[in-house]
Symmetry: D4
Subunit: 231 residues, 8 copies
């Protein structure tokens, strides 16, 4: 039972890094300061660094009091202790369809960087002005993994997916109104995409997209052996 520590309200998962490749990240929304603080402390003790996502400014201020070495980014609402270090070659490109989608795109970009990826941002390239996107076509095709963030009708990932031979992770956002259904519409649209090789994460889940991108870059970095495994 040494792989996690039981705080009563929480069982801190020390084994996560070994099992999943990266230490546990704290999802801040809906958690009280009294819960986040101790978990942060435990994780810093163990891993020397920690990341908290979806943290509103008010809670962040409290935690900055407790952990003066922490840094807080207001757009992505991410708080970190400790610096990320570049671990992987290649490039994760984060594209955002509109200016209003930035808070999700930045959650993805900062998370990917935190996990060791080299990140390139390409923002406000929505499909209604396709020339803006195509102006960057060469760069887009050179990226290793593409995280494509879009609200409204969520069409950008389909267009990007058709331009590249690399995996595309689509992130629908809650930016839109009416028929957009707080993001359900772009989520379902991305699911129904005519582009192959694209998968989708939850609405506004920049973190999740970046996590998968980092896993892919880690796999690339570590490589695989050519003999087939036991079957």
């Amino acid at each position: 039972m040494e792989n996690f520590e039981d705080l009563g309200f929480s069982k801190v998962d020390y084994d996560r890094e070994k099992r999943q490749g990266f230490p546990e990240v704290i999802y801040g929304e809906g958690k009280a300061i009294e819960h986040i603080g101790p978990i942060m402390g435990k994780l810093i003790d163990r891993h020397g660094k920690v990341m908290v996502t979806r943290l509103d400014a008010e809670k962040a201020e409290h935690l900055l009091g407790l952990f003066p070495e922490a840094e807080y980014d207001r757009i992505s609402r991410i708080l970190t202790v400790g610096k990320p270090e570049l671990a992987f070659g290649g490039q994760v490109m984060v594209l955002a369809a509109g200016t209003s989608d930035l808070f999700v795109a930045e959650e993805a970009a900062l998370t990917a960087e935190w996990m060791g990826c080299n990140v390139r941002r390409l923002y406000d390239v929505g499909v209604a002005g396709i020339d803006r996107l195509l102006a960057y076509r060469d760069e887009i095709t050179r990226a290793s993994v593409l995280i494509v963030v879009a609200g409204m009708e969520g069409a950008l990932p389909s267009v990007v997916g058709g331009l590249v031979e690399r995996p595309v992770i689509a992130v629908p956002t809650s930016i839109g109104y009416g028929a957009h259904l707080e993001g359900i519409t772009p989520l379902l649209a991305m699911m129904s995409s005519c582009a192959s090789g694209m998968s989708v994460v939850n609405i506004d889940n920049g973190f999740g997209a970046a996590y998968q991108a980092a896993m892919i870059m880690k796999l690339v970095s570590e490589g695989v052996h050519h003999e087939s495994p036991i079957s």
Copy 2:
């Protein structure tokens, strides 16, 4: 009460042409042959021609027996008596994202032609292969009105809408599966489009899109007077 004729099960709307610019068109789905036949007869008597939409092959065969001069198109499922005549200049372009969307695109194209429009078809130009669409960019920008038919995630109208200064009428189709929800997903996505100047009709409603396109071309053809109307 001379503007319509009461057949009991139906009130044939002779006034429609005067009121709405085009004679009544019969929606064939869910109507019995015993109902469609007499209404067709009345409308041919009055207008010299008639169009029936959403007519399955079996019913069409029966009606071809009754009206030997009729013609039936298996893809669009439209039956017509009498020939359309070109009435309007300019061009209505009908674009379809995929090969499977053709039955809707053809409903739109044939309806628009029937109503007097000059129609240009551009099929299988879905956004996952954006170069196929852009290869026709010049032609697209020259069209007067654009009907854009797409299933799956329904992204094509957004891209087209961003390329032109002309009205775009988007038609979601029932082609897709799973998260596509039989067309509800592209319908909502089109509604949420980031492209301006675009409006949407019901799923698979190629007829409705063509009807509005023809109304626009009719307005263009007739022109408007520059003095402002009574207000």
Copy 3:
């Protein structure tokens, strides 16, 4: 890359006017003052005028400080710099079913005027008092394009659509409660309308309806050539 300017968080689309016939309009909701201000500045430099939609009163006050020549309309929540000029003949009629739908109707009316249309407003003519609507039947039939705004069950566009030979653009509103589902119900109802020649835009999207109406009036104003285009 001269067609747009990259501000980092945004790529200002100077090419829009050439491509789409009207300069870019700023959608104010969910954008920070720090983003809207610079984009406004760039667009005024380029086009001499600008329009911002969905701008709440608080942000408007800030922007009026930065751009003293700007004007703000509290009902439609539109801020403008520069005057619209009447460009097109004919008439765009904006109908609203109820008094509560005015904020959407005015967004449509002001946008259409801004884009050069001659606008006639006809408000509080919901179908439950059909005589109020029919009292204006002559005027309605003389309009060139009709924007019909309705909340609740969204029935007004169907009735209007049956009275005219001109295109009807239906706008569902978020006014209603319970089974109205914040506008999804009238949106779906308008989609399912029995009236031909009608298309629909997103909930509360008065701007989008006006944009399409202006595109139609522009097409009418410019006319088309009778020879058929390259095909």
Copy 4:
């Protein structure tokens, strides 16, 4: 326990007539012939007549073999034994928006007649041709109760509701496609109607609407005493 008879698979409710004013009616859909037959027999024994609704043609044929005095109506899919007798003055008007809605309208009309109402049918008076409806305005205002059947966007009840001082019972139908959601859209739209004094029954539930209409006519026929009841 004399108020019902237990057949094992069913408890025949003899008390219904006393309790609810009309004998039990058998809902035929999803019931096997082996179940419907015995229940019919029991109810004929008790009440001298019986009505079965939602009965497909195949089952009807079987039952006509067992009960040669029965009559079956193919449009409404109602089978009856015994004749209805006119019991109530006034008039129940059944309006239908389109020809395809007739199967529901006829279920309502036949049920109301069976329950003793004087029925007036007014079919194919959908709102997209409002003049057809208004041609009957005088008659409509003279009806005692109005059952308004409509598919598509379900707008007819709102218009009728605004014309009369009598109760309107709206019946959405499954006739439509796409955004119509098999009748959910007109159901929700009718619920959201701007017309007062209107209530709604389930999709295609002509029977239920007629049942309530008959209850109202029964109440009118029996009258009420002017002194207030015990409270």
Copy 5:
């Protein structure tokens, strides 16, 4: 054009009383004081009394300043000028399933009284304690029309509907949580009720139910002529 008066933002419907039997009632939600005040004034001038529904306490206070003779009920949120007078015999019974549903039940009760009905209230008789309901069975069966208000699963109208031979108007409420979907669940459940002779109005629409009940009582009060009308 004498049947209504055009205030620009509103067309006051003076004809409503003649056409629908009762004067126009003002729906207060989403309307500004600047709009409600003038419409109230016009209606008091014409009819000597007026009713405003869905009026929050703050707006009510303003209007009580303008119309000192007005009365405001905090539970139902109804404001009235002028007294209702008992016009109809018989009895409208308003049943509520739970204590939390009272705001809707009182909207129904006060509206029905305002329109001339004799009202009996029976509250907190939800089906999970069926004995509480059945303790009033005699009274329930003597009512002329029953308005049954229920949130949660909305089962009460089905039980009541099975006890009486009079019309039942069901009102789903927004009281509940989770799977209750803010009232959509009881709305759909009431629609699907196994009880005959029941119809449904929108969520929380106590006003609409009372309006229909009053129309029924008015019809009962006026009676019908036994000869059948023109057909």
Copy 6:
């Protein structure tokens, strides 16, 4: 790896009886005969008996050929090999609201019997005829566990839940139409029930309800020790 056997397409779970108290049951829907046959063989070898649910008549015929000792019940669509034996005291009561719900009620009843319960059936006791239900009130209150099956609006479990001090397991059925949404409406309604001590299983899942009932009866049969367990 002795707890299950790998057939490639399936891993037969021999450990289930030890782990969950009852041997694995085969869910027949969507499985091919070629899959069901071998799994049945394995389970008969191990446990001497087997049960297959949701098996259509055609597949059943094939399997009766392979396993001549099997028995098939056409209403519940259950096929069994081997006899159930009464294991538990007390009584599981299965109530069904309507005759059309019998196929689900019988799935529950036969499953519960198969698992060793003493079952009492009480069918066609829907809430619209509450007296039929209350006629059995004494019996109902004596049951140990109650499985309440209802389609339409799904109100029966709420009424039953209010009558007893024993656990009620509610089963919504797919019997209904329109607003019933193929069972989603009663499912959500049962979830929102005002009766305490009630839980819900999936639409038509008579098997699941019976399984839980049997688990409860097994627990009752085995009893618990009064000292509290390790914590």
Copy 7:
């Protein structure tokens, strides 16, 4: 009529304890202090104790003023007067998937304790770290009834359900975002679970789950007689 007392706005159900085994519990949400206070008073008079659920801190403070002997728990939002007493042997285990689900888990735990159950809490054992759950496998299999609380995708009950031979009551929570649909997604997922012997209560309904668990423990405690009941 001695079984309940009519306070006008409420009918206090004194009979509940005899009928359902436990005294009435007050659901605090949406009820005014003026309503809760008197009902509490009546129930304390009758039963010597009372429980109020879903009570926010502000109301709680008021009620603590009125009933100084009351206790309020901020996490579960439960207020109680009088102490629970251990009545039943065995153990109800309450499992929670995440730290954010604690408010629901504690509502369940405190309710079960109040009703006489011996409760074991096991929190933060979500399926993404399956080893944390399996570390407690022995304890889990020894529990008598298991209440499994989970937000997000709601997978925990399926895993637990496959480990035990005891009834599992699943509680979906409103903790999650986007595709989680405020708890509808885990609710539907739990309904669709592949684990047998599991039933589900409403979103966040820890109370309801505990109520059913207590009923089961009561049944176990009282036992059943082996002779079969009257049938």
Copy 8:
């Protein structure tokens, strides 16, 4: 315009291989034999091989007549011409929760093999028997990419996602009933998963999951350069 060939009904995308890394694959559902045949011919000419997915047995038989060298797999409904060749090291593991999910799992497995992946199948390891899954834990953690196919509540990917440090692609299936909503429930549940590093494709879209897996393996195979790209 040399990158695609225009067949009128289709524009064959020869450029796809260069752009996306793999030749175009034909989606067979909803396409006529007359369309599939010629497209297959063109692609074989160009690439020497072709794959058609979602092809029913009847169409397959026709195509096997036209292309005798083709092979058809009845479970996955995939038709291929030409042999796949192992291109990538490492291993793509395809896990399926239940026997009924095999048709999707096989679509994934065959597609991945076709695209050059080394595939390991692990079927019938649903979470309700967690020991069956954990028996393969070592192998699971050694896989390079994991495709996890699950119907019902879709919980398997969450558990697998918590065991590995490699990307997990989740595929919801249409296997289930009732609350499962034809796959929408597991789709939304997977989206809401508490496991990090997981993304989701459309219902039954084994092809799409395999396509992304192959893209990842291709990236791994090709590697990346450590210097950061142009930015």
